[in-house]
């Protein structure tokens, strides 16, 4: 019994997960649910990476996206809760028809066009960690360093933006 059917089936499941969860993120009312479903999208995405043979990338995906970013988003959701479970109007009433039309107009042709891509048979096996590491630390070492500086800058920026000036607020409260 050949297991040739496995790959397409797994792909189909993962694809359904990605698209479905993504649609749910956009369409759901409750933001917490949206956030968690976003995490699901990220997981299915990681699975796709594995299917493609990029395990390292898949690992990074899970670590960074599902781990850090999802938590960050959940924190954000918590901090900006608007007391109670007030339901928000879901869509921009002003923009909803126009935006839908626009996106559909672009999406459908692009998606159809996307199917036209073909590639030669994939090379057998082989992980991606060796080529990846080699590239990152030799050809793209400079970009790598710059990326770390960028992270530093983002970190500092985030701290600066969210710092409370305790003394100023105390003075304001005393007035």
């Amino acid at each position: 019994m050949s297991f040739d059917f496995v790959e397409p089936v797994v792909f189909a499941v993962l694809a359904f997960g990605v698209i479905g969860a993504g649609a749910a993120v956009v369409l759901l009312d409750r933001i917490t649910a949206s956030a968690l479903l976003m995490a699901l999208t990220f997981l299915c995405m990681a699975g796709m990476f594995v299917l493609l043979g990029a395990e390292t990338i898949a690992a990074f995906q899970v670590l960074i996206y599902v781990g850090a970013i999802t938590v960050l988003i959940l924190f954000g959701v918590q901090f900006t809760k608007q007391g109670g479970d007030r339901s928000y109007a879901l869509f921009f009433q002003k923009q909803y028809p126009l935006a839908a039309a626009l996106v559909a107009a672009v999406a459908i042709p692009v998606a159809l066009f996307a199917f036209s891509f073909t590639a030669p048979a994939p090379p057998p096996g082989g992980g991606d960690i060796r080529p990846l590491a080699t590239s990152v630390f030799t050809d793209y070492a400079f970009a790598f360093e710059v990326a770390s500086v960028l992270l530093l800058a983002a970190m500092v920026g985030a701290i600066v933006l969210t710092t409370r000036d305790e003394r100023a607020e105390a003075a304001r409260r005393r007035k």
Partner: protein, 635 residues
């Protein structure tokens, strides 16, 4: 002395600057003295120049500086000193000097004393430039300058509406004439490639252009002259110009500015002679104007108006002389007229001054006892105007009509004689109403007084000139000093002077004198003996009388036809400007503003809308790129 000729206009210019800049605050009545002294110096220099020209320097060009030099077109500021300009210089400066002295007394109580002398000095400067210029363009500068000063001085008492309306009328009519002048000089340049008198006349000699071109030039120049010299059809500003102070009327509107038209035609005689028929036009217009104005002067009651119409009429005589080919007679009459008309005006001014401002002759009478000097000088001037021998007016006017007869223009001669009769009549009437008979307004009469010496001395001097000038320069007729003096200029112009026989001269002289005497006799009969009574005549003539008193309704005609038409055009232009041109600009602005308002709606402030716009832009780019790549939009 001729080398210093540019000092002659320089003195009045300096006087203008001094009076204008320092007159109000610091110099007060000294401006009059300074201005009179300046013109006096100019007069002395003019006498010197005259003597030098007499001594043999017949044609000198004294350049000052190079004014315009653009390619082919070159015009210099230079003076042409020949007998004609020497005579004009002399007349202008001497008469101006006497009038300046007179004005010191006449304008003594006026607040604008310094302003008066500033403008008057500027006027003399411009007039001298006009007379001295050696090309048409520089002459035009002087031409315009005198027009400007005329405007300023007519409207001198601008607090009242009549003076400034009269000033405006004078200026506009002058401008209409100037249009003709400009056409003339432009055509001259196009044809002869120069505006210099000597160059033009020289080139005319070498190759005369077509007859119609010459006619255009001459008629255009003459049209300009009619504006300046108050001939038909541009004469009606001169009577209105009497709103100005009397010295102004004497200087500008009798002796100098109005003679610039005559000077222009005299100077351009070579052109006129070459154009043939235009000279006839000049003569006819002059003659018609002479008799036309004389008829109006018969019935005017304002003493200055009578003199104004008389000036128009006498200028007509000068143009008549030019038209029949006797430029010397024209200049001779110009000179004598300057003296006796200035005297008549200054005398009228003395009367008005003595009566505290009254100008209506119906309120005068019997003034000869109160103002003897004025009376006697005016009597002399009036006699000159009526052309009684041996006064100056007789010699010059007689030459004019003789020339008309001798050169074969019988009709023009007849018109001249009839006008002489009318002239004698109206001057008798004016003098009698002012100085003789019983005073019609006792109150005015009681307060009447003779004018101060500063005013009567010029009167006396002018009187002397009126008596002596004619004999001095015009005797014997056709061979007098002035003929010999201006001879070279006349020959150069190609004018043939017919020398009539002695018998003809005597006969024509007798006819002239007879016309004058008859006119005076009728005047005396009507006004002294009341046979027939003037009022009765006026009633009997009815409509004709009304026509004359209303000056043939010319002013109303002009106003109705021309001024209204001009106003309509101006109104239409204004409407066009406001509605269409301004409207265009306003609509454009409004459209841009509306466009801005419309585009402003894109800035909703809602970030989502901005994101949508970005998406739309992205769509556009994808479509464009895809189309290009797929070959739909062309490679």
């Amino acid at each position: 002395m001729i080398a210093l000729v540019w000092l002659i206009p320089a003195f009045p210019l300096a006087a203008f600057l001094i009076a204008g800049l320092f007159g109000r605050r610091w110099l007060g009545h000294w401006t009059g003295v300074i201005a009179s002294a300046a013109v006096g110096l100019s007069a002395l220099l003019s006498i010197g120049v005259f003597l030098e020209v007499l001594g043999g320097k017949e044609q000198t060009v004294v350049p000052l500086y190079r004014w315009i030099g653009v390619g082919d077109f070159s015009v210099n500021v230079a003076a042409l000193i020949d007998p004609l300009s020497a005579v004009m210089l002399l007349v202008v400066t001497v008469v101006s000097f006497l009038i300046f002295v007179y004005s010191n007394g006449y304008m003594a109580d006026d607040e604008g004393f310094y302003r008066f002398f500033a403008w008057l000095s500027l006027f003399v400067f411009a007039m001298l430039i006009l007379v001295m210029a050696d090309n048409y363009l520089l002459m035009f500068v002087g031409w315009e300058g005198v027009g400007l000063c005329s405007y300023l001085l007519i409207g001198f008492w601008f607090e009242r509406p009549e003076p400034y309306l009269a000033a405006k009328k004078a200026f506009v009519m002058n401008r209409i004439g100037d249009w003709g002048y400009t056409i003339g000089i432009i055509t001259i340049f196009l044809v002869f490639n120069s505006m210099n008198f000597l160059d033009v006349f020289h080139r005319l000699d070498q190759s005369a252009p077509a007859q119609n071109v010459m006619t255009i030039i001459c008629l255009a120049l003459f049209f300009g002259a009619t504006g300046k010299s108050a001939q038909l059809p541009l004469y009606s500003w001169l009577p209105d110009a009497m709103e100005g102070p009397t010295p102004v009327s004497a200087l500008i509107h009798a002796a100098t500015m109005v003679t610039s038209g005559v000077y222009l035609v005299a100077r351009s005689m070579p052109l006129f002679v070459a154009a043939g028929s235009s000279l006839e036009v000049v003569g006819v217009v002059g003659a018609i104007t002479a008799i036309f104005a004389a008829t109006i002067a018969l019935v005017q009651f304002d003493i200055k108006r009578v003199m104004a119409y008389s000036t128009v009429s006498q200028l007509g005589y000068m143009f008549l002389a030019l038209g029949v080919g006797a430029p010397v007679a024209a200049i001779f009459h110009l000179a004598t007229h300057a003296f006796f008309k200035a005297l008549l005006f200054l005398g009228s001014g003395s009367v008005i001054h003595g009566l505290g401002g009254e100008q209506d002759m119906r309120k005068m009478g019997g003034l000869r006892r109160r103002m003897p000097v004025t009376f006697w000088t005016m009597l002399v001037a009036g006699g000159a105007l009526a052309a009684l021998p041996p006064l100056a007016g007789f010699w010059s006017k007689d030459e004019v009509v003789t020339a008309a007869f001798v050169n074969g223009h019988a009709v023009l001669y007849a018109i001249g004689i009839i006008t002489a009769l009318l002239t004698a009549f109206y001057v008798t009437r004016a003098l009698w109403m002012t100085f003789y008979g019983e005073p019609r307004d006792q109150h005015l009469f009681d307060h009447a007084h003779e004018s101060p010496t500063v005013m009567t001395l010029p009167l006396i001097l002018l009187g002397v000139g009126t008596v002596a000038l004619g004999i001095a320069i015009g005797f014997p007729p056709e061979q007098g000093f002035i003929h010999r003096f201006l001879g070279p200029v006349v020959e150069a112009a190609g004018v043939v002077e017919h020398a009539p026989e002695l018998a003809t001269i005597l006969l024509l002289a007798a006819v002239s004198v007879a016309a004058g005497v008859v006119g005076i006799a009728i005047g005396v009969l009507m006004y002294v003996r009341h046979r027939p009574d003037p009022a009765a005549v006026a009633r009997a003539a009815g409509p004709l009388y009304r026509l004359l008193v209303n000056k043939y309704y010319i002013d109303e005609l002009y106003d109705h036809r021309i001024v209204e038409a001009a106003r309509a055009i101006a109104g239409a232009s204004w409407a066009f400007d406001i509605h269409i041109i301004d409207g265009l600009a306003n609509r454009l602005g409004w459209a841009l503003a509306m466009g801005g308002q419309g585009l402003r709606r894109l800035q909703t402030g809602i970030v989502g809308n901005y994101a949508l716009t970005i998406m739309a832009g992205l769509l556009l780019m994808l479509v464009a790129y895809g189309g290009y790549a797929a070959g739909i939009f062309g490679r």
